[in-house]
């Protein structure tokens, strides 16, 4: 049975009628929809077990703490992290990247260098710009080749003994390019640089194994992988995480406090100041259990099939430009396109009029838009519940756009 046939009934929102048509939701890369098990797990938590975690000496507090820490164990297994202390909960990818940029940023000195890439989401660019401005650090960007791949020879030329951080996306949120993480990590390590991977588009789509990827930091959100908004994960390699001073302070992250100093808590709580997103952690557990039941290999295969179908269908249309890796090359579950003479927002609005939800604009990747020579693109993206018929509906609708405006 196809994955969408197997899962579709689990997502209540997919029953919605939009503009008189059944919803065709092709915006999962922005935020995926949620299966009933996630919604119910969070409701059950609020109805039965909610209290603050860690220092509540009462039954509900214990239950909440247990559920929160169970989520950490589930994430550890899901991403193949060697230790649970390596899993830090954040508010999402942007928060996680900001946290690690601030934290590493404190160790940088004038003249140090940070390497990013041209395909970064603003969330993996702006935090480094803020660090660079404060510390007198230089930012370099690895160019994107016309086929959507990173220019690794250029990376080699950029890496110097002053390179302290290499920050890059695992999967481009626009092009769908899957970057060679292990390869980049090895090159970065040769010059002693730390690696920070933005996994926002990879975690929902690919089977992750931190011990195989070997990166120092890996960051992603729950809400793109069937989980709730408001929670994300920062994975940090134990040896590296343990020698970093916390970038942000507050409750939970300390052991003992005096007026002018404090002793930090153990990992991972050292990096989790304040009351964490507890219900969201419960929802994330349910999302991971749902994905694991399907099997991430199967998820990747299904979404890969849909992406290739979209690439092939759209490329066959006149006046349509499709971005990213050529047909047949594995990509993330996204396909960006432009239509001659039509603005990406008009494309999205006209598709919405037919009940098809896609994203349009710069996708928070303005430097990449500049490199591609476009103001923006329209982007279709897929999840476990997306159907080949929906891809076909998209291709048919795009084919008829010029007649509508």
């Amino acid at each position: 049975m196809r994955l969408d046939e197997l899962t579709r009934g689990d997502f209540p929102i997919l029953e919605r009628i939009v503009n008189g048509r059944p919803l065709v939701y092709l915006d999962s890369a922005a935020s995926s929809q949620k299966p009933r098990t996630v919604i119910e797990a969070m409701t059950r938590y609020y109805e039965r077990s909610h209290a603050n975690v860690h220092r509540s000496i009462h039954t509900l507090g214990e239950e909440a703490t247990e559920l929160y820490e169970l989520a950490r164990d589930r994430v550890q297994r899901f991403i193949g992290a060697p230790a649970r202390e390596e899993v830090v909960f954040t508010r999402g990818t942007t928060d996680g990247l900001g946290l690690i940029a601030e934290t590493i940023g404190r160790t940088l000195a004038a003249g140090d260098e940070i390497v990013v890439t041209e395909l970064e989401h603003h969330s993996n660019l702006i935090p480094w710009q803020l660090v660079a401005r404060d510390r007198g650090v230089t930012i370099k960007a690895v160019p994107v080749r016309p086929d959507g791949a990173l220019d690794l020879e250029a990376l080699d030329r950029m890496l110097t003994p002053r390179t302290r951080v290499v920050a890059f996306a695992h999967v481009s949120n626009v092009l769908g390019t899957i970057t060679p993480v292990t390869e980049i990590v090895r090159r970065a390590r040769q010059v002693g640089a730390l690696t920070v991977v933005d996994g926002a588009q990879a975690a929902p789509h690919l089977k992750l194994d931190m011990s195989a990827l070997e990166c120092d930091f890996y960051v992603f959100s729950a809400h793109k992988m069937l989980g709730p908004t408001g929670i994300g994960v920062l994975y940090g390699r134990l040896a590296v995480l343990d020698r970093l001073e916390p970038g942000r302070g507050g409750s939970e992250m300390i052991k003992e406090v005096w007026i002018d100093h404090a002793q930090w808590n153990d990992l991972p709580w050292r990096f989790e100041p304040g009351t964490p997103p507890i219900a969201e952690a419960v929802g994330l557990t349910a999302a991971i259990e749902y994905l694991e039941k399907l099997g991430m290999d199967r998820v990747a295969e299904h979404e890969g099939m849909l992406a290739q179908r979209a690439v092939n269908g759209l490329r066959a249309l006149p006046a349509v430009r499709v971005f990213g890796p050529p047909p047949g090359v594995p990509r993330g579950a996204v396909v960006a396109l432009t239509v001659d003479r039509l603005h990406p927002h008009d494309v999205a609005a006209l598709l919405d009029a037919e009940g098809i939800a896609v994203r349009a604009g710069h996708h928070c990747a303005m430097p990449l838009m500049r490199r591609l020579g476009v103001v923006g693109t329209s982007r279709a993206s897929f999840s476990v519940y997306s159907a080949p018929e929906e891809v076909d509906a998209l291709v048919d609708a795009v084919a008829g756009l010029h007649a509508k405006l």
Binding site: G20, H343, H345, D346, D352, A353, G361, V375, L405
Partner: protein, 123 residues
Amino acid sequence: MSPAAVLYSDVIRERWRRPRHRGELPGATGVAEDVNPLCGDRVRFSVRVDDGTVAAARFTGDSCAICTAAADVAAELATGRSTGEAARLAREDVLEVLRADVRPTRMRCVTLPLSVLTMALAR
């Protein structure tokens, strides 16, 4: 009416296909440019003010159909008015001409040209 026809009125289609006030303005007395951070649309307005009156207004830019049509209407409405009147043009004035049900998510496409026009008039 289809949802697409509600959003993209005949006026919007016509103004987007054949804008009447698009282009550069030689001898402009004021020029301004701004972007819509939501979508990256860029609108640039040039105005020529003679004796307190807007003698001409032209726009250029990368923008969607609604934004292009709104800029075209804004340029038309401004022309012949005093700078004070032109700077006080409101979204309702533009929407009345466009005859379209512009949703809140796209309202910035209408207001961006107006704010850029006001900036150009202040230069």
